[in-house]
């Protein structure tokens, strides 16, 4: 209808300067967020703000180690975000497992399951390092290189295969039903009362 390519620079500028964060803090990096958000480093200067609902969020911060249990939620939340969406991984745990390299319940390579646009090394990275990462992702957005969401669409089979290998086929339904026998039992008891 309208040729939006003409306005692409403006839109990219808006995308860059208005990144809403999913407030989904995993691991120990969540505690690095308050200084970033509050008066010390004040991320709101760049138009970033924490946002509890993924439907209207752009930036997904993975702040620390990821367990399989969390990864399921991360994938579901990530898929709920509307395109374009960006992922920023904090610290060494999402990179290679970090100090949890031999733990049965910590994911070793996050980018096998969802695309990561920018990874920040460190255990934990200091707020300055996180700011640097955010600067990096802003540059990537402006030049159109932050294309994790495109990669996820294009290589969906690869990501799906890795997810299914880890969790087993049909893990969404299985996880959703996991508690149902127990919840139904409680429901029944409540009704009997």
């Amino acid at each position: 209808m309208v040729d939006w390519r003409l306005y692409e620079p403006l839109i990219n500028f808006a995308r860059k300067r208005s990144m809403w964060i999913v407030a989904f803090c995993t691991g120990c990096g969540g505690i690095e967020m308050p200084p970033l958000m509050t008066s010390r480093y004040d991320l709101e200067r760049f138009g970033m703000m924490p946002n509890p609902a993924p439907r209207m969020a752009d930036l997904f911060l993975i702040t620390g180690y990821v367990t399989p249990k969390t990864l399921k939620r991360i994938i579901i939340t990530y898929e709920m975000q509307p395109d374009p969406k960006y992922v920023l991984a904090h610290g060494s745990c999402p990179l290679n497992g970090g100090i949890y390299w031999d733990a049965y319940n910590a994911i070793k390579h996050l980018d096998k399951y969802i695309p990561v646009d920018v990874a920040i090394a460190g255990c934990m990275p200091r707020p300055e390092a996180v700011m640097d990462g955010i600067k990096k992702i802003m540059d990537l957005i402006e030049t159109g290189k932050a294309d994790g969401w495109k990669r996820y669409k294009e290589n969906y089979e690869y990501y799906k295969k890795n997810q299914d290998e880890l969790f087993g086929e049909g893990w969404r339904e299985k996880t959703a039903r996991r508690w149902i026998p127990w919840l139904m039992g409680r429901e029944k008891k409540r009704e009997e009362e």
Binding site: W101, I107, K108, F167, K174, W179
Partner: protein
Amino acid sequence: MAEEVKASWSKGEEIVRMLLEKAPYAEGTVRRERRLEFKVPADRIVDFLRTAKANGFELLLQITAVDWLKEGEIELVYQLFSISHGTHAMVKTRLPRDEARISTVMDIYPVAETYERDAHEFFKVTFEGNPKLEMPWILEDEDREVGVSHRKDFDMLGYVKRKYKLLDRFDEDKENYVI
């Protein structure tokens, strides 16, 4: 084992003596100030905890388990706390490793339900009378099916390598791994 430092906490000794009078089947010592230790046979644990609760140990803080592989036993440690005496107490009991069954203490300390589920999931101890033992707890279903446990005869590292398809860059014979 380092040389035991005999504690001299007279109040603690009094508490131990008072409890042991009522529960002669147990052994009790004072580890140090505010740390008491009791050893109870597995079949009397309910009696002992009931006695303890009646004598000022109001809280159950935790139930932990230790796997003694060589001795073929699993040690359960019930950590009690007394507000009135101001002291911890570790109540230890041992179960055979391959037949780890013990009675639940839910009716004495209701909070035990959660800790018993924990010990059941990771050390395969069966607490008879706890209705929620089979309820999903920390482990994912696929881990459960494989039988992940913290018992020492479970090959955790091998399982991790298999599960996450790690490149086999480390050797289990080495002392330190570099990744």
